[in-house]
């Protein structure tokens, strides 16, 4: 076979094709024009023109989170690259595989403060899994191959390829061959767990009297939901998910305690605190989960399974650490347990577990999310955010992809939309990036053209990337945006209510909000406004019905602006220290928003 002769720019695009890339989310500029010309001359990859580079990274991220496949971004040097950094950091914190290609000034100009020069490798260093600066065009195929391998393997994460303009010169040609494999002597992610540790973990699980299975984003990213569900069902242990882990276990199952942590359910947090065994899978004991680590689960033996050794014993010491891919290790643990239960059906302490479940049901009844108090009527019949989320859940039969932003609306969505499969709930948990929701929903919709994609957002977050409504028009994306409009930076305001004597320092907009229905209509989309509970279900049935299958619909839901998110962890306390209902003016709550 004759090797092809391609320019650097052509090799880059050809390598992306060879990686199986469907979409590139990007925005052009001087440093990447050779690459854009190479894109123009081919058909296999569709380039999506965004309106802001941050949004491009979130789209790639949404694409990646909903499919497990890497998302790809192309931006120019300087401001294009720096605009992408927030999205790269977002992907880094939530371990999602994206590959970001940034233009750079020509190698000879690097370091001269040339026009639109930024040291992208330097700027992005703390928030990437790895990065490359292309020194010569000949390296391009190898670098692309390595970048995708690194982004997707082990604990996934973002990889930056910084491409100086001279290396894409259309007048210089190279022999192109895409490498079949990578050889990185310094990088070999673990592919299986240690069998001794697996046996120890199985024994600890069997011996537990008050167990909780606590799982995070690692179960989603590691495609381990089926294995987790099988093991948890066999053991009949209570399961709780982190904000990142929702969908790892069926959200409507009796066995599911809901989300845990700062705004987790009463029963999940109480169970964690009183557990004698916590089996953490693909979770990292984030401070939004543990509350004060010194007071965390005083009686619990900790079994911690993670692909990343650096996550184990970082915050909470693990008694039984297992490094390995979640799915495979869970399946092995399940086999060991199945065999042991086969030999001795009494191996599990059914009586103790029965008592444990009775306590959990008691907590659920006492203060669970379905408790009456949470269904109180809004003031003067106004809407409550929880009711809106529940209505979306009903209208979509629990089968939508739901993206979200950051704030109260995010917590209401996480609490009240019950995800029964993985990769459906897509939000920025680690970095907490406002502005993530709409572009992430777009990435999801590109990946799943026929699917129902809802973005549950707040007006503050929405306004951070609403320029993408124009991109949605260009590509006819039928996303359903549910704007929980409380006319405030609600989460900030809630903290100010709770610990700053209700002084709302810069958390409201003083009547300066746009008319969102007119705004979205001006982009050619459909808009609804809902003010009252009695309009809610009919409107949602319309929005998610056949009538608007092909439309982007923006629902401006004006909700009770006074509503707070509960439960809420009490600062410095243990996991069982929660505020459960409205109290104003206290100052013993968390102080780090």
């Amino acid at each position: 076979m004759m090797t092809e002769r391609l320019s650097g720019g052509e090799m880059l695009i050809r390598a992306l094709q060879d990686e199986g890339v469907e979409y590139v989310f990007g925005y052009p500029g001087g440093a990447v024009l050779h690459i854009y010309d190479a894109i123009f001359k081919q058909q296999r990859i569709e380039h999506i023109l965004v309106r802001h580079e941050q949004a491009a990274t979130h789209m790639a991220d949404g694409y990646a989170r909903s499919t497990g496949k890497p998302g790809v971004v192309l931006v120019t040097s300087g401001p294009g690259a720096t605009n992408a950094v927030t999205g790269i950091a977002t992907a880094y914190m939530d371990s999602t595989p994206i590959v970001v290609i940034s233009g750079q000034v020509a190698n000879d100009f690097i370091g001269s403060d040339a026009f639109q020069e930024t040291d992208m490798v330097g700027v992005s260093r703390p928030v990437v899994k790895h990065s490359y600066l292309v020194r010569s065009a000949a390296e391009i195929p190898r670098i692309v191959k390595e970048a995708f391998y690194i982004a997707c393997s082990g604990r996934p994460g973002p990889v930056v390829i910084d491409v100086p303009k001279d290396t894409t010169d259309p007048s210089v040609f190279f022999d192109y061959e895409y490498p079949k494999s990578v050889s990185l002597r310094s990088y070999s992610p673990s592919t299986r767990g240690h069998s001794g540790q697996i046996r120890k973990a199985a024994n600890a699980l069997l011996a537990a009297k008050r167990p909780v299975i606590y799982t995070g984003g690692g179960v989603i990213q590691g495609d381990a939901a089926a294995e987790l569900t099988k093991l948890a069902r066999r053991l009949e242990f209570p399961v709780t998910n982190t904000l990142m882990g929702l969908g790892g276990f069926p959200g409507d199952a009796e066995q599911f305690l809901g989300m845990l942590g700062m705004h987790g359910t009463f029963e999940a947090n109480m169970a964690m605190h009183h557990a004698d065994l916590i089996f953490a899978v693909g979770a990292r004991f984030d401070d939004r989960v543990t509350n004060n680590p010194a007071k965390f689960a005083p009686d619990a033996t900790i079994v911690h399974l993670d692909i990343d050794p650096a996550s184990i014993s970082k915050i909470i010491n693990a008694d039984i650490p297992i490094v390995g891919p979640a799915g495979r290790v869970l399946a092995e643990i399940d086999r060991v347990i199945e065999a042991k239960l086969g030999e001795d059906p009494e191996a599990l302490d059914k009586r103790a577990l029965g008592d444990w479940w009775r306590r959990i049901h008691g907590w659920r009844k006492q203060h669970g999310l379905d408790h009456d108090q949470r269904h109180r009527q809004g003031l003067n019949g106004s809407l409550l955010p929880q009711q809106v989320v529940q209505s979306v859940y009903r209208a979509t039969k629990g089968q939508a992809f739901v993206t979200s932003d950051v704030g109260q609306h995010q917590m209401f969505a996480a609490q009240y939309y019950k995800f029964d499969s993985p990769r459906r709930w897509i939000n920025s948990g680690g970095l907490g990036t406002m502005g993530f929701g709409l572009p992430a929903a777009m990435g999801v919709q590109f990946a799943h053209p026929g699917a129902v994609v809802a973005c549950i957002t707040g007006e503050g977050s929405f306004m951070m990337n609403m320029q993408e409504l124009s991109t949605c028009m260009q590509y006819a994306l039928p996303i359903k945006v549910i704007n929980l409009n409380n006319q405030a930076l609600g989460m900030v305001k809630q903290w100010q209510d709770m610990q700053y004597g209700g002084r709302h320092s810069h958390s409201t907009y003083r009547d300066a909000l746009p008319d969102f229905t007119a705004l979205t209509e001006s982009f050619g989309h459909v808009a609804y406004r809902i003010d009252h509970l009695d309009e809610l279900d009919d409107a949602m049935a319309d929005v998610f019905g056949a009538k608007h299958r092909d439309d982007l619909v923006f629902v401006d839901a004006h909700i009770d602006p006074e509503e707070h998110v509960y439960p809420m962890a009490i600062k410095g306390g243990a996991m069982n220290d929660m505020v459960l209902e409205r109290v104003d003016g206290r100052d013993d709550i968390r102080d780090d928003l």
Binding site: V121, G122, R125, P126, K129, H130, S131, L133, R135, I150, L184, R185, S186, Y187, D308, P309, A310, S313, K314, N317
Partner: protein, 163 residues
């Protein structure tokens, strides 16, 4: 607790900056740092001294291992090892001080490697403590300039850090 880490690193542009960046980013401190290519030109060897309790050192080691260009990390202080540091020191040497400085240098087995009318430049190797002791012995007034390499370390006997 002081710890001495030996790190094998791909000898590539930017690799060292990732190691240093990691320390800054995660709030770990670097006391001394020393780096050069090894007999295998594709590898650099770093010796880095830092402080922290066992948990912290474990975290540092794990995070270093996460860097793609880090090939191997060993905590030399876990076992028997040798440490050496090189110091070049320029001292004032006039009149009676000339003899005095020379004698002190001999006692510490240093070498005078450059001489002017009023100064000596001395080369000294040894543990960091020995170098500290030499500076103290000279008395501060004599010292004009000090440059130290940072510690280099190697495991004792047949312990070998390689690929």
């Amino acid at each position: 607790m002081r710890r001495l880490l030996a790190i094998l690193l791909e000898n590539e542009a930017g690799a060292l900056s990732r190691v240093i960046g990691l320390f800054a980013q995660r709030n770990y401190n670097i006391e001394t740092l020393n780096v050069a290519p090894t007999e295998d030109e594709t590898l650099s060897r770093v010796t880095l001294s830092t402080t922290g309790d066992e948990n912290r050192i474990e975290q540092i080691t794990k995070h270093l291992n996460r860097l793609i260009e880090v090939v191997k990390v060993v905590d030399l202080t876990d076992g028997d090892h040798l440490e050496r540091e090189l110091m070049l020191i320029k001292v004032r040497a006039v009149g009676a001080l000339r003899e005095e400085v020379k004698r002190c240098c001999d006692i510490f087995r240093g070498q005078v490697i450059d001489v002017t009318n009023d100064a000596y430049t001395i080369q000294l190797t040894g543990t960091s403590e020995k170098l500290d002791a030499f500076i103290r012995a000279l008395g501060e007034t004599a010292v004009l300039e000090v440059v130290r390499s940072g510690v280099s370390g190697i495991g004792r006997a047949d312990k070998i850090l390689s690929l």
